[in-house]
């Protein structure tokens, strides 16, 4: 049998279509791997039958199974968003993104662990325990799509679906040494994706390489009549093949990158800039004058939206109901017991920010900052083709290292949040390994590239060329997944 473990999603699809491996063999291989999950990456794993439950079509990727973040509703399959409040919930419908994969003939391997309601940067906010980093199980895989990143990097799935609100695909991809793409807001339907911050949430792929990211995006993207904010990508997406970066300009926002960045991360970043130049690209310094305020604005806007999005978990219609003493205690006890501390913190923040008399000082001002950041990117893309940064200021940190200090934890998203606020596409590709400041094991470093809205094809081409030049080896991670 072919070496399925070594194969990317695209290569696996090719093995199936050439007859070198059967779809059954492929599914069984990955179900076996998933069942040996040593990373707490899955909250639920499929069997042969349930994996193919919604699969009713075929496409170029038919037969290659996908791991799905537990934030996507899947009909009849437990969907919790890693929250106690949705324990036992079986959705009556399937998210559009998952349905598109199924329609392409792709089975579902399982539902992956995450920070509760996608709120977190380390996966430690899961009600079902943190997922672990396959490169070092004492460290976090990042978040919130930590489970998706861990199972792909740890060889427990060929590829996975995640969501990104302020960096939740890119940061864990960076921490785990894989590729994570957050498409333009509106590229992929949000229907059936449990909402955290609706104006920022976007679904995207976590994959072993850039080609896989492109192929999944090609299947996922498109306008959906169930999501009024979805528009799709004009012209679609095809597999990238660029080898050079001639004529392309990469802008480096030096003002942003100075802050609290680890030496090893910075070193890999600078080396990658040199590779870009070697491939014919031009590096220029740019300003994103308001990006420094992105975290502050984000932690007003996202909680504000979350506070209303999460109000539906009231114990009335589905999920957990903790009390039926009277209406108020039903609401209060259900939500007190059902939500974890970070979710409660953000609901409180958001509720406060929207309260009468405070709205303009908080939500209103944060919206104005967002508008400035959108303008910053527009101006930047007037001068350069791409904006590049490290994906995160640090490599994967240790479990428990930052849980006591939310503000320090929030800084993990320093480089990813500006692109989310601007709504532009951004990708994280592995740029080598580095030790954390103060020593430790060699861990993956992510390199982030952002492009103008709906310029995904161009972004994927450049990423593909750069990926080949970097030649990252993720095999050490693949060894770290099984129990």
């Amino acid at each position: 049998m072919a070496d399925l473990m070594a194969a990317t999603g695209a290569q696996t699809a090719a093995l199936i279509s050439s007859g070198e491996a059967s779809a059954d063999e492929v599914l069984d291989f990955w179900l076996e791997r998933a069942s040996g999950d040593g990373l707490n990456g899955y909250l639920w794993t499929a069997d042969r039958e349930s994996a193919r439950a919604g699969v009713d079509g075929s496409g170029p990727l038919a037969g290659v199974p996908v791991a799905i973040k537990d934030i996507f509703c899947t009909e009849g399959v437990p969907t919790t968003a890693a929250s106690r409040i949705l324990e036992g919930y079986l959705p009556p419908y399937t998210a559009t993104a998952v349905a598109r994969l199924n329609a392409g003939g792709m089975p579902m391997l399982g539902k992956t662990n995450m920070d509760e309601f996608a709120m977190g940067s380390s996966n430690e906010n899961s009600a079902y325990g943190a997922s672990l980093n396959p490169w070092d199980r004492g460290r976090v895989p990042g978040g919130s799509s930590g489970g998706s990143a861990a199972v792909v990097a740890g060889g427990l799935a060929p590829w996975a679906l995640g969501t990104d609100t302020g960096g939740s695909i890119r940061q864990p991809a960076g921490f785990c040494g894989i590729v994570g793409l957050k498409p333009t807001y509106g590229a992929i339907s949000r229907f059936g994706m449990i909402a955290f911050a609706s104006s920022l949430d976007q679904c995207g792929p976590l994959t072993r390489d850039v080609t896989d990211a492109a192929l999944l995006l090609a299947t996922l993207q498109g306008r959906d009549q169930m999501d009024s904010t979805s528009v799709g990508i004009e012209g679609g997406i095809s597999a990238p093949g660029a080898e050079r970066l001639d004529g392309l300009t990469f802008g480096v926002p030096r003002g942003l990158i100075g802050q609290g960045i680890e030496a090893g991360v910075l070193a890999r970043f600078e080396e990658t800039l040199i590779k870009i130049a070697e491939l014919g690209g031009t590096i220029v310094d740019i300003e994103l004058p308001h990006a420094g305020h992105a975290i502050s604005a984000y932690y007003v806007l996202a909680p504000a939206e979350a506070s209303t999005n999460l109000s539906r978990y009231d114990g009335v219609r589905y999920g957990v109901r903790a009390s039926d003493e009277d209406l108020l205690s039903m609401y209060e006890v259900t939500r007190e017991e059902g939500f974890g501390p970070e979710v409660k913190r953000r609901i409180m923040l958001g509720t406060y920010a929207l309260s009468s008399g405070y709205y303009d000082a908080y939500y209103g001002r944060a919206q104005r900052v967002r508008t400035r950041i959108v303008e910053d990117f527009r101006n930047a893309f007037g001068q350069v083709d791409f904006v590049v940064t490290p994906t995160s200021p640090t490599v994967a940190f240790e479990l428990g290292e930052k849980t006591a200090d939310p503000w320090t934890m929030y800084q993990s998203d320093l480089f990813t949040v500006p692109m989310s606020l601007a709504g532009v596409p951004a990708i994280s590709i592995p740029a080598g390994l580095a030790q954390p400041d103060g020593g430790g094991p060699d861990l993956p470093v992510g390199f982030q590239i952002a492009a103008p809205a709906f310029a995904e094809q161009k972004l994927l081409e450049a990423s593909f060329a750069l990926e080949s030049a970097i030649g990252f080896d993720g095999s050490a991670g693949l060894e770290g997944g099984l129990r």
């Binding site: 959705p91 419908y93 229907f191 059936g192 009024s228 209303t308 009335v316 219609r317 209406l327 929207l354």
Partner: protein, 477 residues
Amino acid sequence: MSTEYDAVIGLEIHVQLSTKTKMFCGCELSFGDEPNVHTCPICLAHPGVLPVPNQTAFEYALKIGAALDCELSPVSTFDRKNYFYPDNPKAYQITQAATPFAIDGRLGQVRIHHAHLEEDAAKTIHTGGAGRIKGSDASLVDFNRGGTPLVEIVTEPDLRSGSEVREWGQLLRATIKQLGVSDVNMEEGSLRCDANISIRPVGSETLGTKTELKNMNSFRFIERGIEAEIARQKEVIASGGAVEQETLHFDPSTGELHSLRSKEEAHDYRYLPEPDLVPVVPTQAMLEEALKLPELPAARAARYEGIGVGEQAALLLSFEVDWAEYFEGVLAADDSIEPRVAANWVTGEFAAELRKQDDQPLAESKVDPASLAKLIGLVASKKISHGAGKTVLEAIVADGSDPEAVVAEQGLEQISDSGELEQIVIQAIEDNPKPAEQVRSGNEKAIGALVGAVMKATQGRADGGEVNRLLRQHLGL
């Protein structure tokens, strides 16, 4: 001398649109079906669902905006209004707070502040107790209604009394009904009205503290509720107190007002622009379609009054399109009939006869406008008397026969030979010496008894005017 007070009233009217499906999902709209059969993950607010606006609802809303002479917004947006209640499954209602679809309108004497689109709540039923949540055994929620498209119309405080509110409310209802965008049935809740009421000393321009009277299911009750609340506020002030901002419920069976919640208990709705919906920009075609309005009741009433129809009859006809069309059918059948006379026949004798005979709906009446015109013509040209006309009407409403045939059959033709009539008059005076004497000695009212006697003798076939003239002549008046 005690201070005189004026009432100041503004209304918030909710109109359920009669679209096929709900505002943000594909569930069918219905009234009276089994509970919870018209639901889906979207209107039950399952995790991950998104709203998709109903295009027809928006078109209907624009029609209402146009009929209320509003400025139609080139861009309108949706907002979330947050509050927890089991009838509100998302715990927020999608509404239009910042940019409603229509602003600055007018209907009759009342200015419209704005009209906005939103979704209706589900229906909560509290079992046991008094049907209120307090003291009930259980609360049940029927989500069939949840998500029904609603247009909320908010007026300026331009109304001054309960009866003004009733009359204006009826005009509004008739106007929307004619647009065909809502059933506007208050009992079924497709039209609901809240009133904001305050009082102030006559001549003052400052508004007093207002109270809100919630959800009454007929304009009569609204009228009574408002009058009761105005009286209550006057009493509070007369006894040295101050009106407090609160929400009230009027119980029409007892005439009592109950407080539902005070200002302190008022919600902070934490409005937020709805991130799941893009702004709605009506196309030029949609705007043009909305502005293609039929003749609306207010304009129709004015036109009828302009051709001499009395105010009451003009309003009655204008509020019901089928009656107006019937009336115009009568005029078209015989242009010699005076509109005032035709309107009185249609809204008076004819409507009464339909009610009398099994409450026949107009649409099912056997009498077409041409027949009624013929009957009115017979009376107007004095071929039959007004009394005989009613006899004919009774017959044609019953079986749809031809008025002239009825006249011939029953021999109802007016006595046109004044010689014959004169003999009957003389006989009547002879037979009734007492009233005749009373009339001669100056009591002209007594002539009624003599007219009655003549009518009886002629079986109503005599022309009243002619009878009067002959009686007076023979009584020497």
